[in-house]
């Protein structure tokens, strides 16, 4: 990790990548082998099917799988011959192929298997992916699986579902923040169609921002992130929005306990383009209006999200998708206080099949997060807001050199703009305005990755990503006495930088390596090593993400985080890939993590570096997963033993300590059973070690206040173990003759009413009442130190009506 010497290196790389784009799109690969080409398409939706198996009947071991666009290319043999196309969840197709088919390209339609009750197996992965791929620490979670999991308030939640995977921890009851393999929540890159989402939560983290009906799929990487992705050291949650069908207008939606949602999709103008639009809104505020209490009925509390995606087939070889998402929350109290925040992203992706072996993707996106707080008051009114955004371009080439070798390369350019924090007093307000300086950054990430099968047994994926980062103007850099920023430090100078003027640079090589050795056809051993740099962090000392969190970019006093992860795993499938089992171990090393000084105030300060402490961390763990994907009963059982530690000067006597989300034992059981075509039931069970927290070891009195006494060691105590069982039953109207098909879902969160603590507050209890507040009319008659436990969501039933048309 070295700073830039000058701008030349950065500029040369950037220029090189820009030059490569037009060159490579016209790159033509010579062909001298005959192939049968075609596309596999879903009969019902007219959408292509990725991952389908295509092979000759007489040579079943030499087949291929279809690409993300549903395209396959199979070496020809003596024709005529019988071609077989299969994909789990669909009826197998056998078709005789003659030499005439070679010239025109095949379109083969698959029908959903009416006898197969398992919708959850529709995914873009091969059934033996678990064993034969080079993936480690990766989970592809089908959206249907997520929809089947019993949900809090009946709100199907993607992020909460991911918490049921081994190695993923939650900050606390009900919240959607993810802590992956010992990493913090800000170390997860959560992106929709390639665009990052900076605050992926509604309702202060109790719900994630995604409407499940709008989602096509979720690829979740908690280790061995491929070289074409980067920017966060812990995980990648790659969410793709659903594409509309090209056949006819369809819709789906639901009416739930706290929100309703509707998604409509269909062809747009012609059969060459389609659209999908999706919306969801809560109606808690409508219930508030029913209250006779003016303290409640004057309030607003809602969130909503909208998303849309259009797909244009620009010919046989080109496809353009344009998508957008907007989600917003608002909390208003009596028309006087307002607090709102929103995420917006727009993305466009151009996919081009340059040749049968070379594919090109160009993704352009922009993402923006902002919040606004307003207080309408004659004396102290104000409006306070902030916005942060990222705009990027990513070009990727995939070259299938042979069935054994695949190469992908490209570059990703990112521009960060974290706007100034502005507090504007209302006219006549006594408050003075506050404006901080903005933060800007530019990051270029060229990458290359090779995937090679040395033999049937040995496969290797070797990738390299080079992140080149620069903090640049417009901005202000402060210089402190002795070069140590602290709240007491004397500022010796402040330098103002113009737009795009370099302030500070870093760069780092990020190797990504994965090796698979197939011990048997259904058993493999995999190892992986992974380095990543992260050039932005959240400066916060609370464990849950908040809308007001301050994101900061790497700069003079705040270096980028470096994360190294090493993992090894053994993967086995049983009974024709019906069962998957895996055992993975990992060790993760983290450099330059930040935390806040005690009593730090980072909301408005322009010198945020004075409030920050920098240190290191490490994590290790073992994760076991047993999963059944096919059959009437599906689901998984996972167990993880994991630990994570931090060492930051100024915290916990400068010794190693556990962050709050260090929860060594983590057991999850997810079961789905399909009784018949109408009835299904789901059950989840979660058990984890309690959160690492700090309890007092005494009390004392200062300024007439009784205060808990802390030892100075952070998080040396534990909440009680957390466990919970949820269950749901779904009844589905399967009368396919009807245009409108409905289903009812009844779910219960926390079935046996476990009182899992959300918090323990150490406080004085007055008059033996835990919520007593002394007033002039109700004086204090007794006082004593006590502990008040708050727990949420015991036995919470909810009912949702879902429909399709």
């Amino acid at each position: 990790m070295k700073p830039f010497i000058d701008m030349n290196l950065f500029q040369r790389c950037f220029t090189l990548v820009l030059c490569l784009i037009p060159l490579s799109t016209s790159f033509v690969i010579a062909q001298d082998v005959s192939y049968l080409e075609g596309t596999i398409i879903d009969f019902a939706t007219n959408q292509s099917i990725p991952g389908a198996n295509v092979y000759w009947k007489h040579s079943p071991t030499e087949g291929v799988t279809t690409s993300q666009e549903g395209i396959f290319k199979l070496p020809t043999t003596k024709l005529p011959a019988v071609l077989i196309v299969s994909f789990i969840g669909y009826e197998q197709v056998e078709r005789e192929v003659t030499s005439k088919d070679l010239a025109r390209g095949l379109k083969i339609y698959l029908r959903e298997d009416e006898m197969d009750l398992q919708e959850v197996t529709v995914s873009s992965t091969r059934p033996d992916q678990n064993v034969k791929s080079l993936d480690m620490g990766k989970s592809v979670v089908p959206i249907e699986t997520i929809k089947n999991i019993p949900a809090l308030f009946g709100e199907v939640d993607i992020l909460r579902s991911l918490q049921l995977l081994p190695g993923v921890q939650t900050a606390g009851e009900g919240t959607t923040g993810l802590f992956v393999r010992g990493g913090s929540a800000d170390q997860n890159l959560l992106q929709i169609d390639g665009a990052p989402i900076y605050n992926p939560s509604h309702f202060f983290g109790f719900f994630s921002v995604f409407n499940p009906d709008a989602i096509h799929g979720v690829d979740f990487y908690k280790g061995n992130i491929p070289a074409n992705y980067g920017g966060r050291i812990s995980s990648l949650i790659d969410i793709s929005l659903k594409e509309g069908n090209f056949d006819k207008i369809k819709g789906e939606g639901g009416i739930g306990t706290i929100s309703s949602r509707l998604t409509v999709d269909g062809p747009l103008f012609s059969d060459k383009s389609s659209f999908v639009i999706s919306a969801r809104r809560t109606y808690a505020d409508l219930f508030l209006r029913l209250s006779s209490d003016p303290n409640i009925n004057n309030n607003d509390l809602y969130f909503y999200d909208l998303s849309g995606k259009t797909v244009f087939k620009l010919g046989e070889k080109d496809k353009l998708t344009v998508s957008s998402y907007y989600g917003s929350d608002f909390l208003g109290l009596s028309g006087q206080f307002g607090f709102g925040w929103s995420n917006w992203m727009g993305a466009a992706t151009w996919n081009r099949n340059i040749s049968d072996r070379l594919f090109f993707d160009l993704n352009a996106y922009s993402s923006r997060y902002n919040y606004k707080v307003s207080f309408d008051d004659a004396d102290n009114g104000f409006e306070w807001g902030n916005a942060l955004g990222e705009t990027g371009f990513k070009a990727t080439w995939n070259y299938h050199v042979s069935d054994q070798t695949k190469i992908n390369w490209g570059s990703h350019l990112q521009f960060y703009h974290f706007a100034s924090i502005d507090l504007e007093p209302a006219p006549g307000s006594a408050i003075q305005p506050i404006t901080s300086n903005p933060f800007n950054g530019l990051q270029l990430n060229p990458f290359v990755s090779v995937n090679h099968e040395f033999s049937d047994k040995v496969g290797l994926e070797a990738g390299l990503r080079w992140s080149l980062y620069q903090q640049h103007g417009r901005g202000v850099a402060y210089t402190f006495e002795d070069n140590i920023p602290s709240p007491e430090a004397v500022i010796t100078d402040s330098l103002t930088f113009n737009t795009f003027e370099k302030m500070r640079g870093y760069h780092g090589l990020e190797p990504r390596l994965a090796l698979r050795y197939l011990l048997r056809e259904d058993l493999s051993l995999k190892i992986a090593a992974n380095r990543a740099f992260q050039y932005l962090q959240v400066a916060s000392n609370s464990s849950a993400g908040l809308p007001l969190d301050r994101w900061i970019l790497a700069g003079t006093y705040i270096p980028p985080i470096r994360g190294d992860q090493f993992s090894v795993g053994i993967f086995k499938n049983f009974k024709n890939d019906t069962w998957e089992v895996s055992l993975e171990g990992y060790y993760k090393d983290m450099k330059n993590l930040i935390d806040l000084r005690q009593g730090a105030s980072v909301l408005f300060t322009d010198r945020v570096e004075t409030e920050i402490l920098v240190g290191d961390g490490y994590a290790y763990g073992a994760e076991f997963l047993l999963r059944k994907n096919v059959g009437k009963t599906t689901g998984w059982l996972s167990y993880a033993y994991s630990r994570t530690w931090r060492k930051i000067e100024g915290i916990s006597f400068d010794r190693w300590y556990n962050p709050r989300f260090d929860r060594p034992h983590d057991l999850n059981l997810v079961l789905n059973h399909q009784f018949d075509k109408q009835w299904s039931a789901n059950l989840t069970f979660v058990y984890t070690t309690g959160q690492a927290v700090t309890f007092p070891a005494g009390s004392y009195v200062v300024d007439s206040q009784r205060l808990p006494l802390y030892t100075g060691e952070r998080n040396a105590d534990r909440f009680p173990d957390y466990h919970r069982m949820d269950a749901s039953v779904t009844w589905k109207n399967v009368d396919k003759g009807k245009k409108w098909r409905g289903s009812w879902n009844f779910s219960i969160y926390n079935l046996y009413g476990r009182k899992n603590p959300f918090s323990y507050q150490f406080t004085e209890i007055f008059n033996d009442e835990i919520n007593f507040t002394p007033t002039s009319t109700e004086p204090i008659t007794s006082r004593r130190p006590g502990t008040v436990m708050t727990y949420l969501f015991t036995f919470l039933p909810s009912l949702t009506y879902n429909f399709e048309f």
Partner: protein
């Protein structure tokens, strides 16, 4: 912001509950707690020394009665010795000595051969011009009653750390929500325009005394962290709890100490609320 969370949780978490529990907590060895006040007026200068004890123990904290306590003027070298008063259970300066504006002072406390020291500057006070009051009807964010507005001037460019205490009918309001601490984050014009004490309602006939202290940053930070700790609910949205950082340090030993040393000018103003016609 607290109000926001209360509203949010009352709406969202209608199934949530609270109950009192007893946890099995560790207990640290008793730690000395020093709370020293040094101002430019007599009668409020004092030093209290107690010790910490087991968390659930409800008996009064032990008072250390045999400490040696003094405050030295670092400009003149003059030392004010403090003597333990059995009735008040605190140390008071001999001859009711007071501090001088603009001088720096050093607190020295010796407990069983272990010394603790702290320093602070007695800064010049801002000015308080007047207190007005007005009856206001009940609104959503406001109870019905009389509200005070304080007028004055803060002419300082730096060291703007203030605490305002409210004494109602000779009783100091000391609930956790009664702390009024402010600095110059939002400017120094707050008193010139009139600073309404929005969180305090009074009735006709109440006699109210406002006491304004201009603190050193260490004492201000201590009190800010103390208030933060009083509101820390131990949940996800609160920072990890820590003892407020004391501005008192052990002298040449590694023992720990709690509490703080407040050096401040004192200005007060009173008003009797008479019923509006």
């Amino acid at each position: 912001m607290k109000r926001v969370f209360i509203a949010l949780f009352s709406i969202l978490c209608y199934t949530s509950c609270q109950e009192e529990v007893i946890l099995n907590l560790d207990t640290l060895e008793p730690t000395p707690v020093i709370e020293a006040v040094w101002t430019n007026v007599p009668n409020i200068n004092q030093v209290m020394i107690t010790t910490s004890r087991e968390y659930y123990d409800n008996t009064p904290n032990e008072v250390i009665e045999d400490a040696q306590v003094s405050i030295r003027n670092l400009e003149t070298g003059r030392i004010a010795n403090f003597v333990y008063n059995n009735q008040l259970r605190k140390y008071l300066p001999t001859n009711n000595q007071i501090g001088q504006i603009g001088h720096e002072y050093e607190l020295s406390v010796i407990i069983q051969d272990k010394a603790y020291i702290s320093t602070g500057v007695l800064l010049a006070p801002p000015t308080l011009d007047s207190i007005t009051y007005e009856f206001k009807d009940q609104r959503v964010f406001r109870d019905e009653g009389y509200y005070l507005t304080l007028y004055g001037d803060i002419p300082f460019e730096e060291d703007n750390y203030y605490r305002l205490r409210v004494v109602k009918n000779d009783t100091l309001l000391n609930r956790r929500s009664d702390y009024l601490l402010f600095d110059d984050t939002f400017g120094t014009q707050i008193l010139n325009r009139g600073f309404e004490l929005g969180g305090f309602t009074f009735e006709a006939g109440d006699r109210v005394r406002l006491e304004l202290f201009r603190l050193n940053k260490g004492a201000y930070d201590y009190l800010s962290q103390l208030v933060g700790l009083l509101f820390n609910d131990g949940g996800l949205f609160s920072p990890p709890p820590q003892n407020p950082v004391s501005n008192i340090k052990p002298l040449e030993h590694d023992g720990s100490v709690l509490g703080y040393f407040m050096v401040s000018p004192y200005i007060g103003a009173s008003v009797l609320i008479e019923e509006e016609e």
